[in-house]
């Protein structure tokens, strides 16, 4: 049997998570290089429409794995559905997006099959018949090329933004969809989830901001937030922060940018005292221009910055506010 890549796309409450397009783009690139067959699967209850949506992309086949016990999502349910399916199909490689949902069940799925998962990969390398995945380590300060040991199936997840979802290739004709009705036994699903909700009405929509001034741990104290606030005001932008700042209550949670906060793509992202941890970077790397001020020349934020200022933000920001005022006033 030919080697197969299986992409498990993500659906939540019956809607396709768009990050799945990125995973398919990555899988298509690997399939082109390796010559492996590419298939996709969607897991849920009455998710046939999503299977059809996926079938429009350049894949050989789409599986619609159905059971009433798969809605709402639970890790027990998804593993009970995918484990026998993967055991039977024996794909060489199983790819998924590195979302909160996948983080919740994929390690369990791989372990249940006595296999390993390379999580949060940002790319891959295929050299001399060896497939390796690149992942970030030490909060993005280093990268590592990681290979699988032992027998397939191999599992890997791709970080948000690792591939371009808008570059997904479409097929000449729709791929065949096979519906597989699964039998998830009673008592397998132990968690009882309630409907998702938002804590408070989000007062700020950072996704619409053209300019964002964001602060990280380098701001040191709550009272220093005021300085960044002033800069945001003179620039006509919004203030935002990395997670630790919001955890400390220095800025409200709806100002948080990153995997647990908002994902933004402003014209200008001015990062003040932000080290550039992965969880933050995934929320802002789409900004058109990133200016970073950090006193640590090794800070990972400089890897993605267009303009780097290695220095103390408390020295740089006050004259910057004055210069902006002068220029705008002129």
């Amino acid at each position: 049997m030919a080697d197969t890549i299986l992409v498990v796309v993500e659906q939540r409450e019956g809607k396709l998570n768009r990050v799945s397009w990125e995973t398919i783009t990555g899988a298509q690139a690997i399939a082109a290089e390796t010559g492996w067959t590419l298939e996709a699967a969607v897991v849920g209850s009455s998710v046939g429409d999503i299977a059809k949506e996926i079938a429009a992309t350049k894949v050989s086949k789409v599986y619609d794995l159905e059971s009433a016990k798969l809605e709402p999502y639970t890790p027990d349910g998804f593993v009970a559905a995918l484990k026998p399916f993967i055991e039977q199909k024996q794909p060489k490689l199983v790819l998924m997006p590195h979302t909160y949902q996948v983080r919740d069940f994929a390690p369990k799925l791989a372990a249940a099959l006595n296999r390993t998962l390379i999580s949060d990969a940002v790319g891959y390398k295929y050299e001399g018949g060896n497939l390796r995945f690149t992942r970030q380590m030490f909060q993005g300060k280093f990268a590592a090329d990681v290979s699988f040991v032992g027998d397939p199936p191999y599992f890997a997840t791709f970080q948000n933004g690792a591939f371009r979802g808008d570059q997904v290739a479409h097929g000449d004709a729709a791929a065949p969809v096979e519906t597989v009705n699964l039998d998830v036994a009673d008592g397998v699903v132990r968690n009882k989830p309630e409907a998702p909700f938002k804590e408070a009405k989000q007062a700020v929509d950072l996704t619409q901001a053209a300019i964002i001034v964001a602060v990280g741990r380098g701001i040191k104290e709550q009272k220093n937030i005021e300085l960044a606030q002033q800069l945001a005001e003179v620039l006509g932008g919004e203030i935002a922060a990395s997670r630790p700042i919001c955890d400390s209550g220095w800025l409200p949670m709806d100002r948080q940018v990153g995997s647990s906060g908002q994902t933004v793509a402003p014209k200008l992202y001015l990062a003040l005292g932000i080290s550039g941890a992965i969880q933050h970077v995934v929320g802002m790397k789409g900004a058109r221009t990133i200016i970073a001020v950090n006193k640590d020349a090794e800070a990972p934020i400089f890897e993605i910055a267009d303009v780097a200022v290695v220095g103390n933000l408390f020295d740089i920001v006050p004259p910057l506010i004055e210069e902006v005022k002068k220029t705008k006033g002129a």
Binding site: T116, F138, S147, G261, E298, A308
Partner: protein
Amino acid sequence: MKILVCMKQVPQKDAPLKLNEGGTWIREDISYEVNEPDAYALEEALRQREKHGGEVVVITSGPPRAQQVLREALAKGADRAIHLEGDGFVTLDAFNTAKAFAAAIKDESFDLIFTGLQSDDYGFAQTGVILAELLGWPHATIIMQIEKSDSGIRVKRELEAGFFQFVDMPLPALLTIQSGINKLRYATLIGIKQAKNKPLKKVSFDEVKLALGENLQRIEKLYIPQKTKKTEVLQGPPGEIAKKLVDKLRNELRVI
């Protein structure tokens, strides 16, 4: 409730990291600290014990230096500690680390196991979930609130984009804890004194070796990430940098 907290020692946030000669790992002559989400996991366990009674046990794996994490946890109020001590634990993948923990606690009976949601070094975000699978327990990840219920616990999961979700679960269960779930406490002087007399059990690599398998993933090479962007570095006195930045904002980016 009897709660186990899995903790890890990681390089300090601003420690200058250097590659070793072989480019396989970092040079270890740096400062270490507790992995931040694990500190929140410990705090949550202490709070649960204060509410419901019981015991808080902390566990870590790593070389002798990692004992510091356990000492601090005992000083903050944990009742006892387990140290899987040895250099061999450092290079284990998430699956093997979970196997080592499962082997070390096989004679214990916990109601809850907490881990941080991920570590600042490897960043697998997997060890807790795999440990739950090995124990046959239900789990929930990225938890922001825990309440006892009649049938077990009710937890608040963080989802993406500002969404949350409550989940009812039976016990025993494993939870991975998100940073910010609570406010961390400091160790008191009395706590630090008392910690010296609290039990700290050591488990050697040989004692759990039989439970481990081959690492199923291997780091071939560790390196400084290649830049994908051309970065312009601005230098000079602050006043000059400010002028250059404003010139850029006005004439290149045209945002002011």
